[in-house]
């Protein structure tokens, strides 16, 4: 039988792995809770609240260090919050069986993250469209790896925003941060440097999660005996994970990532097929 102490202890390595793989906590946590017998909608609603804690905890330092771009984040939140509200509303209305399949499908987009995020020196993009310029979407940060200040300009603000609507929709529906998807949109459409993309994405996740939570709030799906231990466990795990991240090799991380995602996809598909 599940209890709060074991939930906390389960959440600890989940937050740890989430931070290490860049996958975030909830996309591992929600399928794991489902496997342990928690009703899928309650798992989703609790996942949503949990990531407010992990995202805010991590963003606190990246915002202060000037890596996450606050203006880019606030512009993109226009889209993710609307998406999350629509997504969460859908989840409260539909039959649980669809959620397993949506989840499995969305987990597959996590594999996107490993395209194009190589450690190449980010170049300043030449052509900024008029909307991105009008929105003052540019910035600079100090890159420890290249040991210099990196300047960047955002491009394609509108298609990028629409991509973020989809990310918000999936996040609200599935109770996750959809971080891998957000980072992909920010790197490949908006042309943000990888470090700015991942930290800005993390910053946005807190707000997207609040929008989703606002729908789950009155639905009777928020369970205190789930949310409390999960928030504490994943956040502590993520703090520890973030600290040892630089000491692990890329290959180990990549392998770990593939194994976890594959396992979770199979789990969700299995649950889905069984409840058909």
């Amino acid at each position: 039988m599940l209890d709060m102490l074991s939930l906390l202890l389960i959440a600890l390595p989940v937050g740890f792995l989430g931070a290490l793989t860049g996958l975030g906590g909830a996309s591992i946590l929600v399928p794991l809770l489902v496997t342990l017998g928690v009703p899928v909608k309650e798992a989703i609603a609790s996942g949503m609240v949990t990531i407010i804690a992990t995202s805010s905890g991590a963003a606190s330092s990246t915002v202060r260090e000037g890596i996450a771009n606050v203006k880019v984040a606030m512009y993109l939140e226009l889209f993710t919050t609307v998406g999350a509200i629509v997504g969460a509303t859908i989840t409260t209305q539909i039959a649980p069986v669809y959620l397993y399949f949506f989840f499995a499908f969305f987990l597959m987009t996590s594999f996107l993250k490993f395209h194009g995020s190589k450690a190449k020196d980010p170049a300043l993009s030449e052509n900024q469209d008029s909307l991105s310029r009008w929105l003052e979407l540019h910035g600079s940060y100090y890159d420890g790896f290249f040991q210099r200040n990196v300047e960047y300009r955002v491009t394609h603000a509108l298609p990028g925003g629409l991509g973020m609507f989809i990310a918000g929709l999936a996040a609200g529906m599935l109770g996750i941060g959809a971080g891998a998807f957000k980072v992909t949109v920010q790197e490949s459409i908006l042309k943000l440097p990888p470090k700015v993309a991942s930290t800005t994405s993390n910053f946005i996740i807190g707000m997207t999660a609040l929008a989703g939570t606002s729908i789950y709030f009155a639905s009777g799906l928020l369970n205190l005996t789930l949310m409390g231990p999960l928030a504490v466990g994943t956040t502590l795990g993520a703090v520890i994970g973030g600290r040892i991240l630089n000491r692990l090799g890329n290959r180990t991380l990549r392998l770990l990532f593939f194994v976890i995602i594959l396992f979770l996809i199979i789990q969700m598909l299995y649950k889905g097929v069984r409840s058909l």
């Binding site: 039988m1 599940l2 209890d3 709060m4 102490l5 939930l7 906390l8 928690v38 609240v49 407010i52 804690a53 805010s56 905890g57 963003a59 606190s60 330092s61 915002v63 202060r64 000037g66 606050v70 203006k71 606030m74 512009y75 939140e77 226009l78 919050t81 609307v82 509200i85 009008w134 929105l135 003052e136 807190g206 707000m207 999660a209 609040l210 929008a211 939570t213 606002s214 729908i215 709030f217 009155a218 639905s219 009777g220 799906l221 928020l222 369970n223 205190l224 005996t225 789930l226 949310m227 409390g228 231990p229 928030a231 504490v232 956040t235």
Partner: protein, 130 residues
């Protein structure tokens, strides 16, 4: 020039957001830990429960938050602290938007006042109507 002032204002906003986020998370997690400990003290167990007392339902966020300060909790002190912790956690990103609106207004950056105000109104409606 005003560009310089905006730059400094943005740095201030970043600092303020950073402190707000970390305080919100630390306070709510401490309340959760205390709540779980007290729950154990009261009930002698920590079982995952589906009972009505541990489910938040039937009210909008703001009414719920205000009620926390003048109605007795039905589930004991442990549940009360856990509820308060979650309520503060949810309030943290909300206050982050309020803070941003104020900073951009002081900076007279109309574009970003409108952008952040839109998100603020949307969240307020969504937290109120349901």
């Amino acid at each position: 020039m005003s560009d310089d002032r905006s730059e400094r204002n943005l740095l201030k906003l970043e600092k303020a957001i950073s402190y707000l986020l970390i305080s919100g998370v630390v306070v709510s997690l401490i309340l959760e830990v205390l709540g779980i400990a007290l729950y154990y003290h009261t009930y002698g167990r920590l079982a995952f429960s589906e009972s009505k007392t541990v489910l938040i339902q039937g009210t909008n966020y703001f009414t719920f938050f205000l009620n926390l300060f003048h109605t007795e909790s039905t589930g004991g002190k442990g549940i009360y602290l856990m509820t308060l912790g979650i309520a503060i956690l949810i309030l943290t990103p909300y206050l982050r938007v309020v803070l941003s609106v104020v900073y951009f207004a002081r900076d007279r950056n109309i574009k970003y006042v409108l952008i952040t105000l839109f998100v603020l109104i949307l969240l307020t409606l969504s937290l109120t109507i349901t």
